[in-house]
C-alpha cells in the first residue's frame, strides 16, 4: 500500500523556485497497476522518486506499507528500497563492467544473499524476462530492449512488492516496448506485484488498472 498525502516538492535553482509537485495525494492498493500520465515536465519522475524513497518531499507525507518514510534514517530508507521496491528507469542504468547476470545479482549482493543462492535466482529472473542463457553478456553487447529486460530482472531480485517504472519503453521501439510491457503486466497479474508506471505515451494506459493524469505538479484526473 502506497499513500501520498498532500505532497509538495519544490526545487530551488539559485533564487528561482520550481514547484515540481504541488499538493499531490494518491493511494495505490497492493497488487494494483497504476499508470501515471502527463506531459513532459509535469512532475511524473519526481512523483516516482518520492514513492521510491530516492528523494524526500518538501512537505507532505509518503507512506509505504503504513510506514511514514520521513521518519526513516538514510540506512532504513536504503533497506526499504533494497527489499520492497524495484526500479526500472528509462535509461536502464546497468553497470557496464558487470555482466547481465551480475547486474541482476547486485541488489542481492547488497542484501547479503549467499553467492550460490543469488546466482541461481538471477538465472531464474533472466529466464523470466526471456533472456535465458544470456547472463554472461555485458550491457554493451545487448540491445536496448534486452538491457531493459535485464533491468526488470534486477528490479525483481529481492522480491519487491512494488515495481516503479519511469518511461520503461521510452528508449525502445514498439516491438521491444511491447515485450517489456508484457513482462511488467505479467508480473502484476501473476505475482501480484504493485506497479506504478509513469509515461507520456497514451498507448500504455491500457496496461493499467487505473490511469492518473498529472499536469503542472497536480493530479487533474484520477479514475
Amino acid at each position: 500500500m502506497i499513500e501520498l498525502v498532500d505532497v509538495v516538492k519544490k526545487y530551488r535553482i539559485g533564487t528561482h523556485e520550481v514547484v515540481a509537485l504541488n499538493g499531490v495525494s494518491l493511494s495505490v492498493r497492493d497488487g494494483e497497476f497504476v499508470v501515471i500520465m502527463g506531459p513532459s515536465g509535469s512532475g511524473k519522475s519526481t512523483l516516482l522518486h518520492l514513492i521510491g524513497c530516492l528523494d524526500k518531499p518538501t512537505s507532505g507525507k509518503v507512506i509505504i506499507d503504513g510506514e511514514d518514510t520521513s521518519k526513516l534514517s538514510d540506512r532504513e530508507l536504503t533497506e526499504l528500497r533494497r527489499d520492497k521496491i524495484g526500479f526500472v528507469f528509462q535509461q536502464y542504468y546497468l553497470i557496464p563492467t558487470l555482466t547481465a547476470l551480475e547486474n541482476v545479482e547486485l541488489p542481492m549482493v547488497f542484501k547479503g544473499v549467499p553467492k550460490e543462492k543469488r546466482h541461481s535466482r538471477a538465472e531464474e529472473l533472466l529466464e523470466l524476462v526471456g533472456l535465458k542463457g544470456q547472463g554472461d553478456r555485458k550491457p554493451n553487447e545487448l540491445s536496448g530492449g534486452e538491457q531493459q529486460r535485464v533491468a526488470i530482472a534486477r528490479a525483481l531480485a529481492n522480491e519487491p512488492s512494488i515495481l516503479l517504472c519511469d518511461e520503461p519503453t521510452g528508449n525502445l521501439d514498439t516491438k521491444s516496448g511491447k515485450v517489456v510491457m508484457d513482462i511488467i503486466k505479467r508480473l502484476n497479474v501473476e505475482e501480484g506485484v504493485t506497479v506504478v508506471l509513469v509515461t507520456h505515451d497514451p498507448s500504455l494506459s491500457d496496461y493499467g488498472d487505473r490511469v492518473v493524469r498529472i499536469r503542472d505538479g497536480r493530479i487533474i484526473h484520477a479514475d
Binding site: 522518486h49 521510491g52 530516492l54 528523494d55 538514510d74 540506512r75 536504503t78 533497506e79 528500497r81 533494497r82 527489499d83 526500479f87 528507469f89 542504468y93 553497470i95 557496464p96 563492467t97 558487470l98 551480475e102 545479482e105 547486485l106 541488489p107 549482493v109 547488497f110 542484501k111 553467492k115 534486477r154 528490479a155 531480485a157 529481492n158
Partner: protein, 371 residues
C-alpha cells in the same frame, strides 16, 4: 563481489590505474631502498667496531682527584672473573723526531704480549716500537726506521693498519713496549685500563664488580662501555636513515596525490552508477568500501611490486656506494621493506578517503540525474 567490482572498475581505466600503481611502486621503492642503504651503512660502520663491542675502558676518576691508576688497582681488576683480557695502558705526550722532521704525538706504553689484542699490523711485528699509519706517512717511515721518542732512539718494528678505536687512535699513535716506555718516562702509573669482557651481556656484572672491588671506599675509577658509544652511533644512523626516508617519502606523497586525483575523477565519472547502486540498496558505507577497496588494491599491488624492487634498488645503492651487498638481505634491512610496503598501502588508503567519502555522500537521486 565488492572486490570483483573494484577490480573491474580499475580495469576499466587501465592506463590510469597502472600509472597510479607505478607511483606507489616508485614511492615504496625509494623509501625501502634508502632504508636498506641506511641500514647497510650502519652495519658497515659498526663492523669496524665489532671487536670492541665487549670492551670496557677504565679511567682514573678525575673528579675525585685521581689522575692515574696504580698497579695494585690493575691487579684487583685482573681478579674479576668476567674480564677476559686486561690491558693496562700508560700514555704521555712526547716529541717524536725523524730525519729533521718532528711532531708531538701521544706515546702509549702497552705490554708487548697484548698489543695484538688492540691493533692489527700493516707490516712488521709486535715485538718493539709500533707506529700508526698516519705517523708513518708523515715521516715516511718503514719497518726498521730509527726514530727518536723523547730524545731516545727506537727502531720501528711494526706499522699499525689503518683503523678506528675510541680509546686510542691507532692511526696517530706511537706504541712502545711497557719496559721501554718506563725507561723513557720514568715509571709512571697507568692512564687507563682496557678490559675485554667475556661477552657483551657480562658487561653490567663486570661494572658492578669494579664498583665493589676497586671503588669500595672511594670512587677511584670510572668505567666506560664501548657498547654505549656503539648504541649512540646506531641511534644517530637510525635518525639519518629516517631523515633520508622522509625525503624519499615525498615521492610517495606525490603518488598519494595522483591516487586522490584519479579517485576524484572516478567518482565524478561514475556518479550515475553510484546513484544507481544507492537506489537499489547500497548503503553509504558500501560505496565508501567500494572506493577504499579500489585504492587498497592499487596500494597492495604497487607496494608489493615496489617492495620486491626495493631489494634491487638497495642492492644497487649498496654496491655503488658501500661496495658490498652483504647487508641487503639482512633482517634489519628487510624491516625497512615492510615499512615501505606499509606506507605504500597506507598512502593509497588515506588518499582515497576523501574521494570515497565524497562518493558515499552523494544523494541517490541527484547522482542518478547527474549529466
Amino acid at each position: 563481489m565488492l572486490i570483483e567490482l573494484a577490480l573491474r572498475n580499475l580495469a576499466r581505466t587501465k592506463v590510469r590505474s597502472t600509472l597510479a600503481i607505478i607511483g606507489i611502486v616508485i614511492g615504496v621503492m625509494a623509501i625501502s631502498s634508502i632504508g636498506i642503504f641506511g641500514e647497510s651503512l650502519k652495519a658497515v660502520i659498526l663492523e669496524n667496531f665489532k671487536d670492541v663491542a665487549n670492551e670496557v675502558i677504565i679511567t682514573p676518576n678525575y673528579i675525585h682527584g685521581y689522575t692515574s691508576i696504580d698497579a695494585r688497582t690493575v691487579r684487583k681488576i685482573e681478579t674479576i672473573p668476567f674480564a677476559e683480557t686486561v690491558i693496562p695502558v700508560k700514555s704521555e705526550s712526547a716529541l717524536v723526531e725523524y730525519r729533521g722532521k718532528k711532531t708531538y704525538v701521544t706515546v702509549y706504553g702497552i705490554d708487548v704480549r697484548k698489543t695484538k689484542d688492540l691493533f692489527e699490523l700493516e707490516k712488521g711485528t709486535y715485538k718493539g716500537c709500533l707506529v700508526g699509519s698516519k705517523i708513518a706517512d708523515f715521516f715516511k717511515l718503514r719497518v726498521g726506521s730509527r726514530i727518536t721518542v723523547a730524545r731516545k732512539d727506537f727502531r720501528v718494528t711494526g706499522i699499525i693498519k689503518e683503523g678506528a678505536r675510541f680509546d686510542i687512535n691507532p692511526n696517530y699513535a706511537v706504541i712502545l713496549p711497557l719496559r721501554d716506555f718506563d725507561r723513557v718516562f720514568n715509571d709512571r702509573e697507568y692512564s687507563m685500563v682496557i678490559v675485554k669482557v667475556k661477552s657483551i651481556d657480562k658487561i653490567d656484572a663486570f661494572k658492578k664488580a669494579v664498583d665493589k672491588i676497586v671503588n669500595r671506599k672511594e670512587n677511584k675509577v670510572s668505567v666506560f662501555e664501548m657498547k654505549m658509544i656503539i648504541e649512540r652511533i646506531k641511534n644517530v644512523f637510525g635518525k639519518v636513515t629516517l631523515f633520508l626516508m622522509a625525503i624519499a617519502g615525498v615521492s610517495l606523497l606525490v603518488a598519494g596525490i595522483s591516487i586522490l586525483n584519479i579517485m576524484l575523477m572516478s567518482t565524478i565519472e561514475r556518479t550515475k552508477e553510484i546513484g544507481l547502486m544507492r537506489a537499489i540498496g547500497a548503503y553509504r558505507e558500501t560505496i565508501l568500501k567500494l572506493f577504499l577497496t579500489e585504492a587498497l588494491i592499487l596500494g597492495l599491488v604497487g607496494s608489493a611490486v615496489g617492495g620486491a624492487l626495493s631489494f634491487l634498488g638497495g642492492y644497487s645503492i649498496d654496491v655503488l656506494i658501500l661496495k658490498t651487498a652483504k647487508y641487503v638481505f639482512a633482517p634489519s634491512s628487510i624491516v625497512y621493506v615492510f615499512l615501505g610496503i606499509a606506507f605504500g598501502i597506507l598512502t593509497a588508503l588515506i588518499s582515497a578517503m576523501y574521494p570515497a567519502w565524497k562518493a558515499s555522500k552523494l544523494e541517490p537521486i541527484e547522482a542518478l540525474r547527474y549529466e
